[in-house]
Symmetry: D2
């Protein structure tokens, strides 16, 4: 195979991001689109010269090599299993499912069929975070000791979304759990989490929290600290820092421009890039390119389904730690 023909399952906001990324990727072509609603499917199909089809048609199609699963979360696992059995390469947005057991079952099907699966932890492909990891791999900071992740959204999602999201730890922190694993280079063995409702009292009734501090520890004692908030008036706050035995590496936020204006009251830099799609667009492009290249070359895909499972297990442990006010061992989950 020298070119990958792709079917898109789900033409919503994140589906469109991937469709655009596919269009900009060498040796990849969007050939089919499915969505529960006809209009977005038609729109995407038209823009990229693909055809609208049903999910079943795409799964059975000979001219579709790979599927991108960008539907709502609750059908992710079913679609992965269906695609795995149909022999398609699979890209699935995080999370695979909100239930740890369901994810485990799904990954067994994937393993049995030998399907190629990649999970959409887009942040691993951010050029800045990748550069931090590259510095670690190059030995620039010695042994990793402490990881600090600040991850704050510009504003909270609607309450209706939060009710179905599985809670902050599974919905939002899951990205940070994956980033912590990516940077620690070792599996966390315990999780200690506290959460508060500081942004909007209505979130307490969901019930959920909107602010959280999470601490992970690995078997050799390496530590990761995560700071989450559902609302940062100053923009989409996304930073990582790794303290090691020989130095420190950190990735700062991205501003809208490099411009600074000085006046009587100080020097003002541009606000942060505020929207996750704009902020992470280079990451989405690289993520798709990595998937396409991996499938065409037959090399292992990463982040794997197991990475998706591990991040979810950490989320589960965090939720339990918060509820029970104690450190939770991963082995408990």
């Amino acid at each position: 195979m020298t070119s990958l023909s792709i079917g898109l399952l789900g033409a919503g906001r994140i589906g469109k991001v991937h469709a655009a990324a596919i269009a900009g990727t060498a040796n990849a072509r969007l050939v089919a689109v499915a969505d529960a609603f006809p209009e977005p499917a038609r729109e995407v199909a038209e823009q990229y010269g693909a055809t609208v089809r049903t999910i079943d048609e795409i799964m059975m199609a000979d001219d579709v090599d790979a599927v991108f699963i960008t539907t709502p979360t609750d059908v992710h696992a079913d679609l992965i299993e269906q695609a795995a059995r149909a022999g398609k390469a699979i890209f699935c947005e995080k999370p695979i499912d909100l239930s740890v057991q369901r994810v485990r079952d799904c990954l067994e099907v994937v393993a049995d069929t030998g399907a190629a699966l990649m999970v959409g932890f887009n942040r691993r492909f951010d050029p800045n975070f990748r550069a931090v990891r590259a510095q670690i791999d190059a030995g620039a900071i010695g042994d990793v000791e402490m990881v600090t992740i600040v991850s704050r959204d510009p504003g909270p999602p609607p309450l209706s979304y939060m009710e179905r999201s599985g809670g902050l730890f599974r919905d939002m922190t899951i990205h940070d759990f994956d980033m912590a694993r990516f940077l620690l280079g070792e599996e966390p063995v315990s999780v200690t989490a506290v959460g508060s409702v500081l942004v909007d009292p209505a979130i307490a009734d969901v019930p959920d929290v909107d602010s959280a501090a999470i601490t992970l520890v690995t078997a050799t004692g390496k530590i990761a600290q995560i700071s989450n908030s559902r609302r940062a008036t100053y923009g989409y706050d996304q930073r990582v820092e790794v303290h090691g035995s020989a130095g420190v590496a950190r990735a700062e936020n991205l501003h809208e421009s490099t411009v600074e204006v000085g006046g009587e009251h100080g020097f003002t830099r541009a606000p942060l890039m505020n929207f996750f799609i704009e902020r992470y667009m280079p990451a989405y492009r690289d993520e798709v390119a990595t998937f396409v290249r991996g499938v065409l070359d037959g090399t292992p895909l990463s982040p794997t389904g197991k990475a998706g499972l591990r991040a979810l297990v950490l989320a589960e442990a965090a939720a339990r730690s918060h509820a029970e006010r104690r450190t939770v061992d991963i082995s408990e989950v």
Copy 2:
């Protein structure tokens, strides 16, 4: 017209940059490519679904609305005139010509035919420099008083290129002259320039200089200072700063990432984006989109041919100032 069909004249490095930008622009399509060499023309045509044609064929073609002139400089003016007479909208890379008189003649033809012409001063479209200009327009720094432009290339071009380039002031500083006009908001009336050979003694034999300091003054006394070098080991150094009566605005360099690594010897940030195409790709994209939108809407194009002329006149005056060791009035040129 709701979509613009474009013919590309010149499929070299900068032609390819524009072809890619056209492909990413809404309502624009590359339909034809011409080049003195068959291979690059074929390559570009294939990649974007266009056909290879001769320049004359493109000029006469009914299915071509606009041409992009990305040939070597010495035929720019002839092609502009031919395209103007053929009724095409025209985008031409800078400079229009190295001779002030030839540019004046060419612009007369453009004026007589009423052709739409835009000159490729890409840096005006850089998001950071545009943001500086936007701050000026918004009144954030009061009246503009002093503009500082630092513009240094990673390394010098081949001597063979420099011999035909018209010299540093016409080849390299011309971008900075346009930027100074863009930021001053007033026409410079005098130029004082000094140049040195510091990078490579062979450049003295071209003859040319490789390092220069230029000062422009407008009728009301506003001042612009430009610093040029043909070689910056630390990367493509592109900064502007505007000091005004109520503040200052500056655009800093772009680094390859936001990552900083700390260790015993200090804190090291990533190198600068080093290649002009990578550095200015967002600018090239916006430049093409602006051209396409302007032609489709029938609104005036900018930077105009006159902007091309004015920058060249400043270059001419700078060369004379350097040679005669005195301030040169623009009215002399």
Copy 3:
């Protein structure tokens, strides 16, 4: 009283810092010095025109208005009580004692005598941290929600010191507990701490930890996260950040200079100010000036003895949380 005559109890490293600060403070004069060793006492006395005396002589002296207690920790509480009974104003280096109960008893004596007591949490007087607090007080970031403190030493102290230090939480984090209280504006009600030995395995035998992550939560759910390490190769790492409902304020590290050097491998800034005395010298000066002004004006001194107690209680809770792997309520201590 228009000028304060001061006796210094302890002429070691930190005693000398305070002696220099006293010399630079308006309306303050060092008149007497005591130390277990004659040489340092003589040296300080000579440099500042004071006399060497015994502690008892200083306590009884009519020409001494105030004492600075900069002895080893184990006699702090005794000296505070003695000075309080002798009617002296008291400045005492942190901590008052390593035992919560001893501190409580000591503060009762202070309360009974009505003595003026200030505890040496120097970081509150750092111009940068004070500026963060001033931004909070001015409402610039709305309600405080999450405090992040990074506090890492250049290198670990000798093992012999660590053995008597009370452990990382009481010796090192105690500064950060005070800073967290200073920035949160509310009392923490629970502490969750994890610690590791990552820097030097010998520290495990003390026994102590050298790396730690601590999370504090207040009654209304505000959160503080602290990151500690006994060794940062890149210098004395001292940063705070406060995320609020309307913005964020942060104080960055202090570098040895503002100089940045660019070359082929990137842009390198100067290392951090590496020694705590150099880093915090402006803070020590302001601390002493604040004490002198407060005593002369008869206004309340701050940080109070209670602040010293509260920070120690948090340290005690952190040690317990780490040992028992659970969140510890302050009320338990």
Copy 4:
């Protein structure tokens, strides 16, 4: 001699700065103060334990080893000559005189008497600018090629001051001329200057300019560019940058703190240190310490009287270049 006894000639603002610096310098003592007005002389004498005397008394005094000349400029040269003949070591604030010829005559007297003379170019002692120079000396940026100096005052001095100042080039740029020499490491051989009145039209009537751009070139073609303004609303703007064959070194401005506040409208850093005494206090301290150490050790003092002369010659050439609109060779002055 193991300690230097100093007489201060002139107890105005800058005299007080030096008195404070002397008080903080090891092995130096202020013993006498003279001023045309009794009150400031008395005030300084009292604060530092010196006596008020006449200038002649100080010159004749056996207990005075060195004098600091901090009077108005017009008597600098006379006092230098008197002190040289009296065998005192001499520190003189810049400039020695506004007349090049008068400076030459004065330096001859200094040479004839063998007096030790240091001229007060305080900026050479700024830790940041010194660090830039140290990087050059260490070879970190290869051969120096282009120096860029931005030097802007917060606001213009009174017109009455400007009338006697000798004009912007002699009064303000003179510091930058010295800095350019300090960083270039080679003598400038030509000067090209333009000046404008942009800040206050009344300055044109002085007559003087308030904004200027100056270009210096050395014999080997190294270039320095200076940007001056009498008014920067954003604070005292003092930056240098040196571009070399192997890299670049730059010293950024000093802000009041390291604090940055983020909110909806961007991220705002603290204003610049705004007052020259506060901004350059560490430089003043080091300047005095360097003078004291040099006199006590009998090592050559720097900046020398010749440095004072050279900076003035550059100022003279700049004034002429501005007036005659041409490059002026130093040999003309």
